[in-house]
């Protein structure tokens, strides 16, 4: 029995990437092998990660890489999302003429980066993994080379991401300066007996926090999101909204719990920190929900909606800062949100491409007549986004709200609830267009492959089933603490 056994999913994943690339080189004339091997890789990883049983967290590689229930679960989620996207958007890629082997290689590397990111217990590893995740993302964002908007999205994402990467690194160097280490566990130990002037540590912490607030697009660091979402290929946007956000949120949670804030030395700073998260959460909620109702572009709308969802997750994180065992509300939120977003983006990717124009809301008019099944799917996902009952969206909000109420943040819950009402308008509007209006002649055609329909159906089934019987999910995620 090897010491590395818990890491098998990750190792298999890396091997899979290499094999996929090798196979692609051998069969250079077609993209099919890349697709199949990418799928295989993800499936194998998924099974491995589900079969790995980590009762207690295991630190590997001198403690920089920690495998715990959280990371294996998250890896399963990431792989599942990857599988969904690969199956669901295959037709979209062909339509957009970007169905290349490279796409799959980059996608795999991106997911690998994300999967390492969630395990990282070292700031340097975090940085490198972040870049492993981001570099393919920048490239994939610019994959629709026929469309200058795609290019623009990639460049914007790249520049902003680069600067923020430098900010992260500066923060890491400050923390290194303050503590003499970049290991999170050592930093935690250090914090328990930290004394004296801790400004350097605080500033470093704030800087890395900011860089991850940027990654999860919390206001006021959200500017990149709508532009990048709109310009990127829909399948990539979906990956960003699910895989990358999930990983970033997990890291954000780790960063928020970087030190032992129970120690009296750190208490004042901790209060400030909570205040900061509160402000970010409220701003994200308000601004996200307020803008989302003004949007006409579907992907932009989803971008702003994800900004407002960031607000909810931040509320959940706030709850976990007050009471660490409430972190499971964040996990449930991430899980549910990823699922419904995945379904939505696969649905969005079913629209026929139009020259120099994105998928507009107006394209949905009259879908009821053309594709009643899809209307049901759209409605389910959108209702889930709005937090209506019998969808997982209700329970995601439920746990965030109740954890915030539990920790005394009732006022912010009220704000969040009001924002939910405002953004519900935005989610209802597409449904209204689909159901109430006859098709606009300028509306785009919607065609999905059997594969994408089935992906949508499966994720819808999960969204619905978990909305009715969330027991298993709650049970699974409630037992996952955030380890220090």
């Amino acid at each position: 029995m090897s010491e590395l056994e818990p890491a098998y999913p990750w190792i298999a994943f890396s091997m899979g990437i290499l094999i996929t690339m090798l196979v692609s080189v051998v069969r250079i004339d077609t993209k099919r092998p890349a697709q199949i091997f990418a799928l295989l890789t993800l499936v194998v990883t998924l099974f491995l990660s589900m079969s790995v049983n980590v009762e207690t967290p295991q630190s590997l590689f001198n403690g920089v890489f920690e495998i715990s229930a959280l990371t294996t679960t998250a890896l399963s989620l990431l792989c599942g999302l990857g599988i969904f996207f690969i199956i669901g958007t295959s037709r979209y890629l062909t339509k957009e003429e970007i169905h290349l082997s490279d796409y799959y290689h980059l996608l795999l590397i991106l997911i690998l980066g994300a999967s390492v990111l969630i395990c990282s217990k070292d700031l340097l590893v975090t940085f490198i993994a972040l870049e492993v995740m981001s570099l393919p993302a920048y490239t994939l964002a610019g994959f629709r080379r026929n469309d200058s908007r795609s290019n623009e999205a990639a460049i914007k994402y790249f520049i902003l991401g680069g600067v923020v990467g430098a900010v992260f690194l500066l923060g890491a160097s400050f923390i290194f300066g303050a503590t003499g280490t970049t290991h999170l566990s050592e930093i935690y130990t250090w914090s328990q007996k930290a004394q004296g002037d801790l400004t350097l540590f605080y500033m470093g912490h704030i800087l890395i926090l900011i860089s991850f607030l940027f990654k999860v697009a919390a206001v006021p660091f959200h500017f990149w999101k709508p532009d990048v979402y709109e310009g990127s290929p829909t399948s990539v946007t979906g990956i960003m909204a699910t895989v990358m956000s999930t990983a970033s949120f997990v890291v954000l949670a780790r960063i928020l719990h970087i030190a032992d804030f129970k120690s009296p030395e750190l208490a004042p700073y901790f209060e400030t920190l909570k205040q900061l998260i509160r402000v970010a959460a409220v701003l994200s909620l308000i601004i996200g929900s307020a803008i989302v109702i003004t949007q006409t572009n579907l992907k932009r709308m989803l971008a702003y909606s994800s900004i407002s969802h960031t607000g909810y997750v931040l509320l959940g994180l706030l709850g976990s800062m007050n009471q660490p065992d409430l972190i499971y509300s964040v996990w449930i939120y991430l899980f549910g949100y990823s699922l419904m977003t995945c379904g939505l983006f696969v649905l969005v990717s079913q629209s026929e491409p139009k020259l120099d124009a994105g998928v507009e809301l107006i394209d949905l008019t009259g879908l009821m007549k053309k594709q009643p099944f899809n209307v049901v799917m759209w409605s389910l996902f959108l209702f889930s986004m709005a937090g209506m009952p019998f969808t997982i969206g209700f329970f995601t909000k439920y746990f965030v709200f109740i954890s915030s109420v539990n920790t005394g943040e009732v006022f912010y819950v009220v704000i969040a609830a009001l924002c939910a009402v405002v953004s519900a308008y935005a989610y209802l509007r597409p449904i209204a267009l689909m159901v109430m209006r006859d098709a606009d002649p300028s509306a785009a055609e919607w065609k999905g492959s059997v594969a994408s329909h089935s992906v949508v159906a499966v994720s819808a089934a999960i969204v619905f089933a978990l909305g009715v019987m969330p027991n298993a999910l709650i049970h699974l995620l409630k037992g996952i603490p955030l380890q220090h």
């Binding site: 209702f383 109420v405 009402v421 519900a424 209204a432 109430m436």
Partner: protein, 484 residues
């Protein structure tokens, strides 16, 4: 006396009916729907008989199923003298709503039937649940079919109406949700376990009167006041009532509004004993204003449906007077009046639809003189109008009389103000009936696609049964009062 009984069938059977609708040929959907709702009524009466026909109000049927043990939410169904009648009414209203012929049986009939039964199921769940979270879920779920019904089969320009309806209701209900969370947390703080059971929460708030509880009360109040609706939260009502297809209007005015009434009786008054006593004056004033204000608006209405919409608000104001007495007698009479209002408003909209089938122009600026053309229909219509004006001998009189006699003890002034509504009620109902029925029939706008003459056949049977119920229970309301 507690009688354990499987109440779940009351929600599962409509749900099954909702799914079965997709396998029924389109041509016989109406038959199917009416027959199934009759079966549901029979089932309801059979299930609820031990409570409904018991001699005291203490009879209770309870049924508990575990659902989300992690968070203390259970399917705790409770059929007692409060919820029993609403459940029965729900089945009756379903029969009426499904009985109407119209565009909904031509365009997507399966969807209509399916949504309708879903609505029935959701409403039953809401009425039966003694668990606040489950209640909330069902309360929200009611929107979904409603939105689709109005959206798909409504008249032109319905989008704004639907949005208003949805957003206002949603606003109220999310605030209620936050309040529920607060209460759940309160109980958690006291007992260490999570529970959203009504009786646990009653225990949690017993004898307390903190400012936060007042805010919670306001949250609940808003939710239900918007639902009823109570002045000044009625802004959504007119448009959506007017533009909705008739079955949806029937559902909304007859039974959805009762959700609010039910909520006040079931949840607000036992949980917030102190606050409801404290705010009783304001509440009664609002109810009285509702009565008079809506009556004035009804007088001004030149459209049959909006007149009925406002009359509904006005009468619900009376119901709320009874509810806001916060004593058993007042509540029992409010339930009695609710029954009356349900039957009468459903009947009036039903009749209006029958007239609409025959005549297209139903504006109230001119008198139409249809009474001569359809003597039976207008006889029944007149009886409904009389009941709506709560003429003695009808169920509504018994209800209104008992309500006012109880509210007089609470606030003489408000009772007298709302008494003015009795006079105004006569003004607008007579105007309504006269403009349609009396005068010379000069307008020849006979709806050509229905050869329907006078009331006959199925409609006659249905309406006669309703008339008999109104009059019979007008003299024998004991069954609803149970010696309270």
């Amino acid at each position: 006396m507690v009688n354990y009984n499987s109440l779940t069938v009351l929600l599962t059977v409509p749900l099954v009916a909702s799914m079965l609708a997709w396998f029924i040929p389109k041509g016989i959907q109406r038959l199917y729907a009416v027959f199934s709702s009759l079966c549901i009524l029979a089932l309801t009466l059979y299930q609820a008989a031990p409570v409904l026909f018991a001699s005291t109000s203490a009879a209770v049927i309870e049924h508990k199923l575990a659902w989300l043990p992690e968070i203390g939410v259970s399917l705790n169904f409770r059929l007692d003298s409060v919820s029993g009648w609403f459940v029965a009414l729900n089945a009756i209203v379903a029969i009426l709503a499904f009985s109407l012929k119209g565009v909904w049986y031509r365009k997507n009939p399966r969807l209509f039937t399916s949504l309708g039964f879903f609505l029935v199921s959701a409403l039953n769940t809401a009425f039966l649940s003694a668990d606040l979270i489950v209640f909330y879920l069902a309360y929200e779920a009611v929107f979904i079919p409603m939105i689709f019904m109005v959206g798909i089969w409504g008249e032109q320009a319905k989008a704004t109406a639907v949005f208003r309806f949805f957003l206002m209701s949603f606003l109220g209900s999310v605030l209620m949700l936050v309040s529920i969370f607060y209460l759940v947390n309160l109980y958690h703080e006291q007992s260490g376990i999570y529970s959203s059971n009504l009786f646990d929460l009653i225990q949690a708030t017993a004898g307390k009167n903190s400012p936060n509880l007042k805010w919670c009360f306001i949250g609940f109040f808003l939710a239900f006041a918007i639902k009823v609706p109570l002045f000044p939260f009625h802004g959504w009502l007119k448009d959506v009532y007017t533009l909705a297809p008739m079955p949806a209007t029937i559902w909304m005015s007859a039974i959805l509004s009762k959700l609010g009434v039910f909520g006040f009786i079931r949840f607000v008054s036992p949980i917030f004993v102190e606050s409801s006593q404290g705010y009783q004056g304001i509440l009664l004033t609002l109810a009285a204003i509702s009565v008079v204000y809506a009556a004035f608006l009804a007088i001004r209405s030149n459209d049959s449906k909006s007149l009925l919409a406002y009359s509904s608000v006005s009468h619900l104001g009376f119901v709320m007077m009874g509810v806001f007495t916060f004593n058993p007698g007042g509540n029992a009479s409010a339930i009695l009046l609710s029954v009356g209002h349900t039957l009468v408003s459903a009947m009036l909209f039903y009749i209006l639809h029958l007239i609409q089938e025959r005549q297209t122009d139903l504006g109230l600026e001119t008198s139409h003189g249809f009474a001569k053309l359809y003597p039976t229909l207008f006889t029944v219509f007149f009886i409904a109008v009389l009941a709506s004006m709560s003429l003695p001998g009808t169920l509504n009189f018994a209800g209104e009389f008992l309500v006012l006699i109880h509210s007089y003890a609470a606030s003489a002034l408000c009772t007298i103000i709302s008494g003015v509504g009795v006079i105004l009620g006569a003004v607008y109902m007579l105007k309504f009936y006269q403009q349609l029925g009396f005068g010379k029939n000069t307008t020849v706008t006979i709806n050509s696609n229905t050869g329907a003459k006078d009331l006959a056949g199925y409609d006659l049977v249905v309406l006669s049964v309703l008339v008999l119920m109104l009059i019979y229970f007008g003299f024998q309301p004991e069954i609803f009062l149970k010696g309270n």
